[in-house]
């Protein structure tokens, strides 16, 4: 089959792309077959899918399908060209359901229509946007205001005696981001859930066009509040991949330390937050207290609680002195033992266990179909972790295990977080022990125009993938951000089915997904 593919799809530009990325230029009609081959026979998983307006470069649009083949530490990129005369492409969602959102987004933002898509509804602009406004086309100017039309929205209806619809949001009682949830329920039991997100889409990808790389890094840091560092690291990784810049050893270790500090404050805070789903005030306050201590540690050592301004292209901006390292060690040592105490209390608490066990179950086949990532995937038995599977920073040198469970319920998801937090303590310890001396930043090589690369990192919610193509003079031509939340949101409605409505906040919290990571 490989040979067949090589003959069938002419090999394209393998030379100038990333060293472990094979690129195939595929004809539009061969796309479903090629995707099926890489996903089903080669064990690839969707890394990201994007559309790009390349008419200025060679006269047509292009779609990129990027698969990660973890077992071979390799990436496959399928590129198809879409001429302006026929702005369609064959949908693969029927065969590979995880492609659903990506394909709908391509239509919303670029106006290239997926043919035979099972659910061809707007994703990002909902229904209130008239057709014909495609922001990611290059002729679309930033100052255009898209008109708004009043429409009555239709959600999947479940009908029958005793079935009621309960609309919740987009404005919520708590301080959370906007999302509309529509439950169809019989009594307390959820039959079906529609989740509608993308209420505050910010157009970051459009905004970044033409932006110098250093400024785009600051923009990447601001995609999300709680995984600011993972986003910055992913973007910097992509820049370093295009320019083939070798990071200084010390920078690789420093990045690892900071990335794990980010995971720690997220995981420990999330373990506390999940307790809010069943009103366990002790857990909430202890979790947020420990998280606050970690945030203050971040502020002391980097100057920013959420670790912004830590990454620079080609390394890091912040170095650690001996006294700071001592500070990290002492603080983490204390927090580790306190966190252990908290988890022991939580996991032996009868009511807490009762509420978490078998709640919000996600099966392995659902997880595989939707290509869920991060702790949610590992809780259902999908053993992926990009830190181990496609190592970056210093993860190939340090030893750590990837905790995974098979139950797929809220309890398994909280357990994955707890275990990972302890792995993070150990990773930071190892990284500090082996922290090499030397410089922390190296100038990045000049990037050739119209080349692409991608960078990735395992954020506390799963892998973030940043793909970008360079424009002339060290600027950005197209920037595509795929966050973990983007992969995981479609799984939440499935996990809720068959559970009672009062468990929804608990299930939702156990995924701890980010709205702003989607609303790029």
């Amino acid at each position: 089959m490989e040979q067949h593919l090589d003959l069938h799809f002419p090999l394209f530009a393998r030379g100038y792309n990333m060293k472990n990325e094979a690129v195939y230029l595929v004809l539009k009609e061969d796309l479903p077959e090629a995707c099926k081959y890489f996903v089903h026979e080669r064990g690839g998983r969707i890394f990201t899918i994007l559309g790009n307006d390349e008419r200025q470069i060679h006269g047509s649009f292009a779609l990129y399908y990027i698969f990660s083949i973890d077992s071979e530490q390799q990436f496959i990129t399928l590129k198809i060209l879409i001429g302006e005369s026929d702005l369609t492409f064959p949908s693969i969602t029927n065969k590979i359901p995880a492609a659903n959102w990506y394909e709908r987004e391509i239509f919303d933002l670029l106006g290239i229509m997926p043919l035979n898509h099972p659910s061809p509804y707007p994703l990002i602009f909902h229904h209130e946007r008239p057709r014909g406004f495609y922001p990611l086309r290059k002729e679309f100017s930033l100052d255009v205001k898209i008109p708004h039309q009043q429409v009555v929205e239709h959600f999947t209806k479940v009908e029958g005696t005793g079935i009621v619809q309960i609309p919740v949001g987009p404005i919520h009682a708590g301080i959370i981001e906007p999302g509309h949830f529509r439950f169809s329920a019989v009594g307390d039991t959820v039959i079906h859930l529609n989740a509608r997100l993308f209420y505050t889409h910010r157009g970051i990808e459009k905004r970044s066009e033409g932006m110098p790389l250093n400024q785009a890094l600051l923009l990447a840091e601001r995609i999300c509040g709680v995984c600011a560092l993972s986003h910055a690291a992913s973007f910097a990784h992509a820049v370093e991949n295009i320019g083939q810049t070798e990071l200084p050893e010390r920078a690789r270790f420093l990045r690892t330390i900071f990335l794990e500090l980010e995971r720690l404050y997220n995981h420990i805070g999330d373990v506390g937050n999940i307790c809010a789903g069943f009103g366990f005030a002790f857990g909430i306050s202890q979790g947020s207290r420990l998280r606050e201590e970690l945030l203050q540690l971040n502020e002391r050592i980097t100057g920013h609680r959420y670790l912004r301004g830590v990454i620079r292209l080609g390394g890091t901006h912040v170095d650690l002195s001996l006294s700071q390292i001592r500070d990290i060690r002492n603080t983490l040592h204390r927090i580790e033992s306190e966190f252990r105490e908290l988890t022991e209390i939580l996991l032996s608490h009868e009511i807490a266990m009762n509420r978490m066990q078998s709640t919000g179950r996600l099966s392995l086949s659902q997880v595989m179909d939707l290509e869920v990532v991060g702790p949610a995937a590992r809780a259902s038995g999908r053993n992926i972790d990009i830190r181990r599977d496609q190592p970056y920073a210093a993860y190939s040198i340090l030893s750590f295990s990837v905790p995974h469970y098979t139950e797929g319920d809220v309890l398994a998801r909280i357990r994955v977080r707890i275990d990972e937090a302890f792995q993070s303590f150990s990773l930071i310890d190892q990284a500090i022990d082996r922290l090499p001396t030397g410089k922390i930043c190296t100038p990045i090589n000049d990037l050739p125009a119209y080349h692409w690369a991608f960078g990735w990192s395992e954020s506390p919610r799963g892998e973030n993938v940043h793909w970008f193509m360079t424009g002339p003079n060290q600027t950005i031509y197209r920037y595509r951000i795929r966050s973990a939340a983007y992969s995981n949101w479609p799984a939440v409605p499935l996990a809720v089915q068959g559970n009672i409505i009062p468990d929804f906040p608990l299930i939702n919290k156990s995924f701890e997904l980010c709205y702003s990571c989607c609303d790029r």
């Binding site: 905004r207 400024q215 600051l218 002790f282 202890q286 050592i301 100057g303 912004r308 301004g309 209390i345």
Partner: protein, 129 residues
Amino acid sequence: MFQIFSKIWKTGVVTQKDDFSEAPPLFRGKPVFGTTACNGCGQCIKVCPTGAITLINYQLLSLSYSSCIFCDICTGECKTGTIQPTTEYRLATKHKPDLTITTSFPQKGDDEHVASAGSFRPENAAKPY
């Protein structure tokens, strides 16, 4: 149950009184104009990612806290130390003009030794994003 009570007892009160006197030394607070004079190189205007630093009539260098994102890039670029980093985080004011600070910007040829440095022209500034 006993464990929970004991942990709560041991933790005690952790909230702080509102006298957060000083932020940690590395904290990136608002940048200010120090006492050293600006040499007019214009580097800060070029590197500011949000266009918070601007030039008014070729005479005044102005920094607006309403657009500043406290990235600290300008303070790193400033060779004369005119822009100084501080750890000040209390930015609220009732008077909007308080959010803009200015310092004098040498004009071209003002002084022998800044002649070359003072050649900055606004058209060289990066587009504010």
